[in-house]
Assembly symmetry: none
Homo-oligomer: 160 residues x 2
C-alpha cells in the first residue's frame, strides 16, 4: 500500500510514478516534530539549512520543503489550538448550571490523538520512535538527537 513516498531527485527514472510533491518520510517527520516541539517553531535561514541537511540523510528534501513545513506547522498548530480553545470556551460558557445537551458548536472528532500539547517527542527513546527507526539508520537519528542540544535558543513565537 505504501509506495515509497520518497521524493526522488532524479525524475529521469521512468519506472517511478513521478511524485510531484515532497512526502516526508516517517523519520523526517519525527525529526521535524522533535525540533518543533523543542521550541524551534520558526527557524531562521541558517537553521533551516541545517535541518535540511539532517533530513537529507533520510531522503531527498530541499530548503523550501523545510521552510514550508514549518510555516504550515505553525499555521495548523495555531488553528487547532484556537479551535479546541473555542470549543472549550463554549463548553464552559457561563457557569449557570444549565443542562444543555446540544453539541451546537463543534463536533470535530478525529481518531488520532493529535493535539501537540504533549506528544512525547521530547523524550522518545521508547514509544513508536523505535518502530520507525529500526533497521536502516537508527544510528544517524541518535546522533542527531544529541546534536539537538546545541541548537535551541529559539523561543517560540516571536514578535513580528
Amino acid at each position: 500500500m505504501d509506495q515509497e513516498g520518497g521524493a526522488s531527485q532524479s525524475p529521469s527514472t521512468s519506472t517511478e510514478p513521478v511524485r510531484s510533491r515532497w512526502s516526508p518520510k516517517p523519520e523526517q517527520i519525527l525529526i521535524l516534530e522533535s525540533i518543533f516541539n523543542s521550541g524551534i517553531v520558526n527557524p531562521p535561514k541558517d537553521e533551516t539549512v541545517r535541518i535540511r541537511k539532517m533530513l537529507e540523510k533520510f531522503g531527498a528534501v530541499g530548503d523550501t520543503n523545510v521552510f514550508y513545513w514549518f510555516q504550515n506547522r505553525r499555521s495548523r498548530s495555531r488553528r487547532r489550538q484556537r479551535q479546541l480553545q473555542a470549543a472549550t470556551a463554549v463548553a464552559a460558557t457561563s457557569r449557570g448550571a444549565e443542562n444543555h445537551q446540544n453539541m451546537t458548536t463543534m463536533s470535530m472528532h478525529h481518531p488520532y490523538s493529535n493535539s501537540e500539547i504533549d506528544l512525547g517527542f521530547g523524550s522518545l527513546s521508547n514509544s513508536l520512535a523505535n518502530n520507525f527507526l529500526n533497521g536502516s539508520s537508527s544510528s544517524q537519528v541518535s546522533s542527531f538527537f544529541l546534536d539537538l542540544s546545541s541548537s535551541s535558543g529559539g523561543c517560540e513565537s516571536n514578535n513580528g
Copy 2:
C-alpha cells in the same frame, strides 16, 4: 434505512463506535448544495460560522467540517470540469473531423448525467428536495431558505 445522525452503531462487529468522519445528513447536504449553487462557493469565516449554525439544527457539525466541505466542493467541481473539458477538447482536436472513440481520460460508466452545471438546487421547491425534507424538520428548512437572502455573494475568480 434511517441513519442516526452520524452516530450509528457499527455495522457488524460491535467494537468501539469509532466515528471516523462526519457524515452530513441529506438535509445538510441540501443546504450546502443550495448555498454553493447560490453562488457562495467560498464563504468567508463569518459566513462559515453562520452556515454551521444552520446545519447544526439537523445534526452535529463543526466549522471545520463546513470549511472542508466547501473546499472539497470547489476542488472537485473544478477538477470535474477540467476533466470533461479535456475530453471535449480531445473530441474536437483538429477540425479534420476524425472519428475518435477513445476514452483516454476516464472510463465513466455511471448512469449520472454528471457535470453539476445544472442540478436544480437553486430552485428546488420541487424535484427530490421534498423527498428529503419530509416529516422531520421541514419548517426549519423553510426558515433557513428565507435567511439565505441576507448573505451577500462572494464571487470568486474562477481562474487561478
